[in-house]
Amino acid sequence: MKTTIILSIISFFFLAAATGQEKYATKTGEIAFEASVPSFEEVKAENSNVSAVLDVVSGNFAALALMKGFRFKVALMEEHFNENYIESSKYPKATFKGTIQDFSLSDLSGESKYLIKGTMSLHGVDKNLEVPAIISIKNGAVYINTQFVLRPEEFDIKIPSIVSNKIADEVNVSAVFMLYKQ
């Protein structure tokens, strides 16, 4: 009797360890955003060191971008972004934690549309978001592709009136994650 209990406990732990390993992740995901206004200098930045983890059993997804990792074409713009708008010393990262709705790894084939519901934390402000994503699987890697729009004022980011006509009110964000099994 005792041995069966011990055995079942051991097998339970093995099972837990096996299911716990269904994680796909990357440290080099890409996020780009653009808030350009026509006929002004383009306001565009890219970060190619974004971390992301996907639990393919539960569909839980988390991403983390370090704000200092965003690179602009114009160095002064990068400086203003860090020091005045996003305040990257005070708020060094942006995170997203959520769940992919109705996600199942075995159903993945070709490109399919999903909805990710979760919380975005940026500039010290948390906001609930629903983000559409295109997810596919290729050569053992899970690809997550998403595009959405954020508004700076929703995250308490103030843009001075002198430059407000050069920066769009709506910031287009796009992200690409190529996640490998860990």
Partner: protein
């Protein structure tokens, strides 16, 4: 004659002003590769600094990190499972278990992987 001189002077000032403004607005990016690093540190010790909340002073600084490569990705390596370094040149080739010295800019602590991230890195020979 005097009017002409004032006019020429004004043009000169305008050109000079324009030049200075242009250079200010379109100043060059930092070149981490040519900057001297402010501190040389082992990878686990750098991680320790961030875990004990002493890392903020190192943000945006040029650092030299030493350690052994534990993971190799496209254009990036992980050192001692504590520092993730992405290279300026994608062609940088380093191998697993290689002992390295890498210079880069510290961009912060990634709590998802519990790792410190550096970008614009280059290996020091």
């Amino acid at each position: 004659m005097k009017k002409k001189r004032i006019f020429l002077l004004l043009i000169l000032f305008l050109v000079l002003g324009g030049f200075v403004t242009y250079n200010y607005v379109y100043q060059d990016h930092r070149d981490i590769k040519s900057e001297t690093s402010q501190i040389e540190i082992t990878a686990p010790y750098l991680l320790e600094q961030f875990k004990t909340n002493n890392g903020d002073a190192l943000l945006n600084k040029t650092l030299t990190v030493t350690g052994v490569i534990t993971d190799v990705e496209d254009g990036a390596v992980t050192i001692d499972e504590s520092v993730h370094a992405s290279f300026v040149e994608n062609s940088t080739r380093l191998n697993k278990n290689e002992k390295v010295k890498i210079k880069g800019r510290c961009i912060g602590y990634d709590e998802l992987f519990e790792i410190v991230k550096l970008d614009q890195c280059s290996p020091i020979k």
